[in-house]
Symmetry: C2
Subunit: 596 residues, 2 copies
């Protein structure tokens, strides 16, 4: 059976754009058949395109040939219809449809293409195994939810570009075929044919190039850019991911933060109509850890950590007293009204904190009779009063304690806080709580390697006032680094960079990177710093994660057109795949045998 | 010597933005020192940023400390200056500078960073060896010409996005890690660590993905996207290049062409203020070859090819007569007033056409006494009259003839036409002559492989009316393919695709691609066509080449921030480079030894 040709047909509207305002008008629509119903001699077709669905009505008295053709039409056929927009007859109006008040009285129908019966229905609700969805991605992408997600992604990218352009940023493309950098995550490599034995690397970020653009005087740079990391994939990771990458000259942290708050506000306004209150909240890293235990706190709920170390230092409860004496931390959270958690729940919480290295979790149910808890007996009446007071404990509350090194106590209790916030429904799905976490430590002592490592990256500038600490007490130096955290997720992070060659050299020294090694790894950046680098700083936002939040998607694969599986394969194209021996020869490589 | 800190300083303007309208205003600028002059106890600094240069004036009576600091300042130092915009004193106005009427009376100066003496001056005019420029790319990029090029590139990308968005196109990202396709140019390969022995390929274009997006109902797609080809590099090629990639559903060639004319007009309007006259000219492939010998004719000048085959078929000049009898073509061009070319020039032209396979070039100088030419004697008086008439030959003209197979005659003479157009200055630098070349042949017979090959690619649709030719005379079938040619350069090309699975199968048959092979190579596209593919077509423009034309750059490297050399290396970062054995082990590959 031959398909009809488009011939001179021109579409006038998309299906979802037709409204009662167009009643009486001649229109031509083209799309996919969502379903066909035969009713009282008439044929009704729900026709779908990216804007929505409209009903076609075919009456044999109007055009017998088109009506006859419509009898062949099946789900997912591609058809074109011309006709008149009409009000639906009394009683057939569908208030749940955008176009539910009207239909098209079809004058002529074309079947532009036929379709096999698809492996799953194209609608909002079908639950389909993900491997089938990914194999037939071109059908999955017809589903309205995914179409909306990708349309919103387009809108977000457009908003980003419009805003940054208005702020004087230039979009400059940086290379995809670049140099393998030994620090950071694992690189994807690309063998060079022209220079056999040598490899390009795909960029983990355009970090060095954007800094060079500042040295070059471009002043403000941005790029929406693919980055690559060959890491084992978690649920929200992809081998290639997209960053909104920015860099600015002649700025300090506050300037970057203020500019980027405007960007985020523009995105949330355009995408979901949310007015973000500016300026956003800020927490120093130290305060975030003190109050929430983590550097990406979810501020949609309180449940703050309370430091009880001083209060329990002299108690008879050895576990707490020893931790306090050893320089550790004893902290607790008060789960208001949580006293009715079962023993099984409490065991679950204990297992949860153990994931983060805590040796245990002490719990207290606060009752009218006092503490109901295995540890109650270790405390004096005065101690109980002070602890209850510190925790604002009341009848019916559940108190959860961790005592360990500062790192373990904060992380274990901080994560448990997040877990409880989700479980107790404290974290409203409609709330968006932004917070900048600032003043990260510059360096972290790596006990194993017996040297400092950079918390952010080795080009991060210390706070101006902390530069002297690089000589006296480097571990205390704070960085001009900032993360933007939304509802407990880091959505972006950046820093002011070092523009002073002397400071950069001192930092490499602290990181145990010798002059020769620094020259080999970062030589061109060091050279660049010696030819008049301006003060500069920047940030990168993860676009995929941002889109997950904006679309409330459960999976990162729902905001990417052609995602990879957790095994880094493409179910659609079967990438990666085997290649010809000849191709490998040209590249000067060969496959290792199993035993190699 | 310590650099000054930004502290609480905020820039108010960029240097090039200051005008006489701001006289009397307090401003703060930051930038690079172009030069310093000491004059009558005052110090003048030309300060440069991406918008231009402004003059700073430092008077020891205003601020002695700043004046003292200014004495240290050298070329490319990074400084900040606050002060008052003032009219320059009588006689010191510089009319060649945008900011030439004013200067800043500096109240305070900061030295934000120092600079080594750069290896070359940062100005418009310095001629520097390209390898030095590429090694110090961050300095080269400070040159106003390159800054303007990249700023225009940003503007063009922005214009493309604004226009396509206004036409309902959605920007959708397609994968960079994808599947190696055996047709086309050589792929860059990326070994997979998770799936050892398998490789991703970097895309030569997102062709299949954009077609799948149409099958998915996205209706209109675009992307400004990096593409990759591992080919030996010519002057205007880079291993990674950028395309403006578009695809539309429910369209025929004319719809794509009309939409894209709007895009090109918007680009030229925004970038260089040119009003492109729409609709653009069109030539069929057949007419382009007939009149200009090539499918990318430069229409800035005439010098058209004239077909003389019929006129010389019966002549006594065997060379011409035999070509005519053998189905070849005899064509000539008339170089008006070209009779004074020297014998050496004519020998040069003969060598030129030999590059394209012509066995020789016959020449005639037209004089008042008739033809002055080695071949004059072979023609009768009547023949000479008809030939002169056909060529509108007049006293002083030069006639150049090629007689060969149709392919060789057209190409050799067509290229010679282009060469002469340049040499004679017929091609005005300020003229922009656009032409769409359409109706390309669908297939080309490969005599060696004894099968047809696709002229465009195997998904290109025949003209609707030529579909029956696929069975009767495939070589005659014309494609719904179109190239946009500007001043003799192809700037974009595309086609309407096959959306009908039966037509696609027939085409694979003609291309000698068996069912199994087709399934293996393009299986997912074939599957997609069977589930309701809409009629669709698209185009891709080469952004790098477009930018070369818009900026009148001589080299593609002048429109790319970080280009590669012709050996596909990056002089700045030294990519590609050797990697650790451990990395290769993880990827399951090893280097071949020399003898392997």
């Amino acid at each position: 059976m031959q398909n009809d040709k488009l011939g001179s047909w021109k579409r006038t509207h998309r299906c979802g754009e037709l409204t009662a305002a167009l009643i009486g008008q001649e229109v031509c629509v083209m799309g996919w058949v969502q379903k066909r119903r035969d009713h009282g001699g008439l044929i009704f077709i729900d026709l779908r395109d990216r804007e929505g669905i409209v009903q076609l009505a075919l009456d044999p008295d109007r055009d017998a040939a088109s009506h006859k053709k419509a009898e062949q039409v099946r789900t997912e056929y591609v058809v074109a219809a011309s006709g008149t927009v009409s009000a639906r007859p009394e009683g057939t109006v569908n208030p749940r449809m955008k176009t539910g008040k009207i239909e098209i009285e079809v004058a002529e129908l074309l079947i532009l293409n036929r379709s096999e019966t698809p492996p799953f229905m194209i609608d909002e609700y079908t639950e389909v195994a993900e491997n089938i969805r990914l194999k037939y991605r071109y059908l999955d992408l017809r589903r309205p939810a995914l179409q909306r997600n990708l349309m919103m992604r387009h809108l977000v990218a457009k908003t980003v570009r419009t805003y940054l352009d208005s702020q004087g940023f230039l979009e400059v493309e940086t290379p995809v075929l670049t140099k393998s950098t030994p620090e950071g995550a694992r690189d994807y490599l690309v063998p060079s044919r022209v220079n056999p034995g040598n490899f390009y690397a795909l960029p983990q970020s355009p970090q060095l190039f954007k800094q060079l653009l500042m040295v070059s005087g471009f002043d403000r740079y941005f790029q929406i850019v693919k980055c690559f990391r060959d890491e084992d994939l978690r649920a929200d990771r992809q081998p290639e991911f997209t960053q909104i990458d920015c860099e600015m000259s002649f700025v300090k942290s506050d300037d970057v933060i203020a500019t980027m708050e405007g960007l985020i506000a523009a995105i949330f306004k355009e995408a979901i109509g949310l007015e973000v209150k500016l300026p956003m909240e800020r927490l120093t890293y130290a305060e975030a850890l003190r109050r929430f235990g983590v550097d990406n706190p979810d501020l949609r709920f309180d449940l703050e950590l309370v430091d009880l170390t001083a209060l329990v230092a002299d108690s008879q409860f050895k576990v707490f007293a020893e931790v306090a004496a050893g320089g550790g931390l004893v902290k607790a959270i008060n789960v208001k009204g949580g006293a009715d958690f079962s023993r099984k729940d409490l065991d679950g919480f204990t297992d949860f904190v153990k994931i983060y290295g805590a040796k245990g979790l002490a719990w207290v149910k606060v009752t009218q009779e006092g503490w109901q808890s295995p540890i109650a007996k270790f405390f004096t009446g005065d101690e109980l009063v002070s602890l209850n007071q510190a925790l604002s404990a009341e009848d019916g509350d559940l108190l959860l304690f961790v005592a360990d090194t500062a790192g373990v106590t904060n992380e274990a209790l901080g994560r448990l806080r997040g877990h409880l916030g989700q479980r107790l429904g404290l974290a409203s799905k409609d709330a968006y709580r932004f917070v900048w976490v600032t003043d990260f430590p510059l360096l972290e002592w790596d006990a194993e390697a017996k040297r400092y490592v950079a918390v952010h990256h080795p080009f991060t500038s210390p706070l101006e006032e902390d530069i002297p600490l690089l000589d006296s007490d480097p571990g205390k130096a704070r960085a001009q680094a900032y993360d933007l955290v939304l509802n407990g997720s880091e959505v972006g992070g950046g820093s002011v960079r070092i523009h002073d060659q002397a400071v950069q050299s001192r930092l490499f020294e602290l990181l145990g990177i010798g002059e020769q090694e620094a020259q080999l790894k970062f030589g061109f950046l060091l050279d660049a710093l010696s030819y008049g680098a301006p003060p500069h700083g920047g940030i990168a936002f993860g676009l995929d994660r941002l889109m997950m939040i904006l679309t409330a998607a459960d999976s990162i694969r729902d905001v990417i057109a052609f995602p990879k599986t957790q095994k880094a394969t493409c179910m659609l194209s079967d990438a990666p795949n085997a290649v010809d021996e000849k191709q490998l020869q040209e590249l000067g490589i060969r496959l290792r045998k199993k035993q190699e």
